[in-house]
């Protein structure tokens, strides 16, 4: 009560401030430009990035500190690595970066606040799932133009995938530099080989094998939770395997609306309301059975830890995550618990594997940033120079990783203190600079190439929903996703049939049909505009 009141108060005050400052904020960068061109005779420190200074010299004589927000939790050696990075940056562009992290637990609260507060940070991680659209339409990001790229980030201008640039457009304008990397959005099981051997399970090829594994653990390993799902992060992963993938369905963003489209049906983009399908009912029944058998905790609804964290901490026997997360996790778990004999299995059965949109990861520049030029120059370096990309992705050479002659990354003992590709460096990932890890998942290439053969894209992936006409309905439906839907998906039902019927009814009362109608109309218009 007190906190809410205090927050309301602070927010109201801050909004007042931002209202007053809104005007100044957007003019500043331009004004800064002029100053710099005038004062550009002053000698610049020796610089390796000559490309960026081809046409007219960009004045970097003034040292700046770039404030950057990243998502996730700070790794132990993060400051060590970024200390190195800052030495290099100081030399190249006379700038240093100062990073603050927003933890997975509360970034949804903090992220909009740093914009609302009128903070003058420079760079922030953003993505289609991390507020890109909502903050862009509210005017939180600085618009990035191709002219700016030509001048301050010429190498990025050259190397960027054109589709990526197109995908990043919101109302025709671009507010982020998306990653330059093709990523498959598909999931794997991570299980313990020692337990598999103990209970005679040789391989996990499908959900039935996985069930056998969970069953064996539930019956025999009383101190372990077979699969510790339930947190808001991953309560729906089993839905993905059981219902979505087999039908080639994928989430329409935003995820909490719980609407889906068919990846294989490229022409229509019809919204699928999954809870009304018979498959969902079957799933609800199965989940009740699994819950009753104790495959996850009876307190799963209030769980706040992801299945991955729980697995790493040795509290549970399996976890579900996407392949690249699994690759990083595998390395660190093998180092800390070699006796577990961790194994990773493909969970997709060759269906419903989407190529992620490029805007799944990206970096945005704050509209209030005082140094947008330097921010772009920084991004140009990490996106295009191998030594920068290596440092922020893998850590310090000789401390956290080493390279084989073929260019594979070999994680060293300290790798756990700076997990490979696990430090929110995803916003500037680039296909040309990304290295394969030696000692990652042994069957990584096998899984990835299997997926690449059947991976699908759909134009609707880049569609962004303008919810301004149905905001009220979106609010109530969001609430249902976190409460009633979650209850059914995790199997906390007595009579699945009746409760699924009740769930459908609740979604109807909340105005879901109005959202579907609005969203469908927008999708149709969007698809038509592409023709």
């Amino acid at each position: 009560m007190r906190k809410v009141r205090a927050i309301c108060l602070v927010m109201a005050m801050l909004m007042l401030f931002s209202a007053i400052l809104a005007g100044c904020g957007q003019e500043k960068p331009a004004a800064g430009d002029d100053n710099k061109q005038v004062a550009s005779q002053s000698p610049t420190p020796a610089s390796n990035s000559d490309n960026s200074q081809k046409e007219e010299k960009i004045d970097i004589s003034k040292e700046v500190t770039l404030k950057m927000y990243l998502l996730g939790d700070m790794a132990k050696d993060f400051n060590l690595v970024y200390g190195e990075l800052n030495k290099m940056l100081k030399e190249d562009i006379n700038a240093t970066v100062e990073v603050s992290f927003m933890g997975w637990g509360d970034y949804t609260q903090k992220y909009p606040l740093v914009f609302a507060s009128g903070d003058d940070f420079d760079l922030i991680y953003t993505a289609n799932w991390a507020f890109y659209n909502s903050q862009a339409t509210k005017g939180g990001f600085l618009e990035i133009t191709k002219d700016m790229l030509k001048k301050y980030a010429p190498r990025t201008y050259e190397s960027m995938y054109e589709e990526a640039w197109e995908q990043a457009k919101v109302n025709g304008k671009v507010y982020m530099l998306p990653m330059n990397y093709k990523e498959l959005n598909a999931y794997v099981y991570m299980v313990r080989g020692d337990l598999m051997a103990k209970y005679g399970i040789s391989e996990i090829k499908n959900q039935d094998d996985f069930e056998k594994y969970l069953d064996a653990v539930a019956k025999n390993e009383k101190h372990l939770i077979p699969l510790d799902i339930g947190s808001d992060m991953d309560f729906d992963t089993l839905l993905r395997f059981e219902v979505l993938a087999p039908q080639n369905l994928d989430y329409l963003e935003p995820q909490q609306l719980n609407h889906f489209f068919n990846l294989a049906d490229k022409s229509s983009g019809k919204i699928v309301n999954i809870i009304e399908t018979p498959e969902f009912l079957e799933f609800a029944k199965k989940m009740k059975e699994w819950k009753d058998k104790g495959y996850w905790s009876k307190s799963a609804l209030v769980n706040k830890v992801s299945s991955k964290e729980s697995f790493i901490n040795g509290k549970s026997a399996s976890a579900i995550m996407n392949l690249s997360t699994a690759n990083g996790t595998y390395t660190s778990v093998v180092a800390s618990h070699p006796e577990w004999d961790v194994k990773v299995f493909d969970g997709m059965n060759g269906k419903g594997i989407p190529i992620k949109p490029y805007i799944q990861n990206g970096m945005g520049i704050n509209a209030n940033s005082k140094n947008p030029e330097r921010a772009l120059m920084f991004l140009d370096l990490v996106k295009n120079e191998q030594r920068y990309a290596d440092l922020v992705t893998y850590g310090i050479k000789g401390v956290h990783y080493d390279l084989t002659p073929e260019g594979y990354v070999v994680p060293l003992e300290n790798s756990a203190n700076y997990p490979i590709d696990g430090n929110c460096n995803w916003g500037w990932r680039d296909d040309r600079l990304f290295r394969q890890v030696q000692g990652g998942i042994p069957n990584y290439n096998e899984i990835r190439s299997n997926w690449e053969k059947v991976a699908l894209t759909h134009p609707v992936q880049n569609f962004t929903f303008d919810d301004s006409k149905v905001k009220n309905e979106v609010a109530t439906v969001t609430n249902l996703w976190k409460t009633d839907f979650k209850v059914v998906v995790l199997g906390f039902t007595n009579d699945p049939e009746a409760e699924v019927a009740k769930l459908i009814e609740k979604y109807k009362t909340a105005g879901n049909d109005a959202i579907i109608a609005e969203q469908q109309a927008q999708i149709d218009a969007y698809l038509n505009s592409l023709k």
């Binding site: 109201a12 609804l301 009220n472 976190k482």
Partner: protein
């Protein structure tokens, strides 16, 4: 010549007093009245570029999410009932504890017990939430471990809505009794000791003294504290409900209050207008409740009314 009743005359005459009240007035003006302009957001579609004043008007649109969910009545009812329960139970316990403490003879025991009761006030709700989770977790919780070791069936608190009513009331009492009893203790210490001495001479026992002297003297304090807390009756103690219950869909019908409902619905949407609308709804209802209560007290006993 200044007018006798003019404001300038008044200012001039009492300038020292006005100066003394100035900090308080300024504080409330800056911290309470200026931010109140933010209320207009409840009727606007907020954008960063437009700010508070230039964003477009949307009428009562922002209020709809609250009412079209079918949950408005439930969460309003829960909020009011929980707060009434907290109010009655906490005040009763606080008064009881204050009286017992004031009658206790051993100084050392008195201080220790008072400190121990005060301690929960300093424990953050996040930590309390962790306590509760570790108590009631089905597989590893302290309660079930105890029940198991005694050969009894484990209990599943997290899917039992009715249990949470008692848990929440108990947790609230645990947290606030020590803090509230200090206020009452201060009021009791302020009672003229001669009255007690006179009662002693008349041969009154300890219960008579409490019944005929202490309780009547506390009446004014009780009523003022009651009126003050009535102002917050529409506001669920967000931290408590959010941290102790969590996002548990199974028990929400019994535990969902306005604040938690609003946070859950709007967390991903980031609509300042709609949050402001929910806040305004609470404030307006609170205003009516406090005006009504004040009126009622005025009718019963004019001396105790706030205004």
């Amino acid at each position: 010549m200044k007018k006798k009743n003019g404001i300038l005359y008044e200012l001039n005459k009492n300038k020292v007093k006005f100066l003394m009240i100035m900090p308080a007035v300024l504080y409330f003006f800056i911290m309470c009245y200026v931010p109140m302009t933010g209320i207009v957001l409840a009727f606007k579609n907020y954008t960063y570029t437009g700010g508070i004043f230039k964003s477009p008007w949307v009428g009562f649109n922002n209020f709809k999410f609250f009412f079209n969910s079918g949950k408005a009545f439930l969460v309003t009812k829960n909020t009011i009932l929980y707060n009434i329960a907290f109010l009655i139970i906490n005040n009763f316990l606080q008064i009881t504890v204050a009286i017992i403490l004031s009658e206790l003879a051993g100084k050392c025991f008195k201080k220790i017990s008072q400190s121990l009761m005060f301690l929960p006030y300093f424990i953050s709700w996040v930590v309390v939430g962790a306590f509760i989770y570790n108590l009631f977790n089905y597989e590893f919780g302290a309660v079930n471990t105890l029940l198991n070791s005694m050969g009894m069936e484990p209990i599943d608190v997290y899917s039992n809505p009715s249990a949470w009513k008692y848990i929440l009331v108990a947790v609230s009492a645990w947290k606030w009794v020590g803090y509230g009893s200090v206020l009452y203790l201060a009021a009791i210490l302020g009672i003229d000791s001669e009255i007690y001495e006179a009662a002693d001479i008349d041969g009154a026992n300890i219960f008579k003294k409490i019944w005929h002297i202490t309780l009547p003297s506390l009446k004014a304090t009780v009523i003022i504290l009651l009126l003050l807390s009535l102002g917050n009756i529409m506001k669920g103690d967000f931290q408590m409900f959010y941290q102790v219950v969590g996002n548990n869909g199974l028990v929400l019908d019994a535990t969902d209050v306005i604040d938690t409902y609003v946070v859950r619905s709007l967390m991903d949407l980031q609509e300042f207008g709609m949050t402001a609308a929910a806040g305004l709804y609470q404030s307006v209802l609170s205003l009516f409740i406090i005006l009504g209560a004040n009126k009622l007290i005025k009718i019963i006993d004019n001396d105790y009314a706030l205004f």
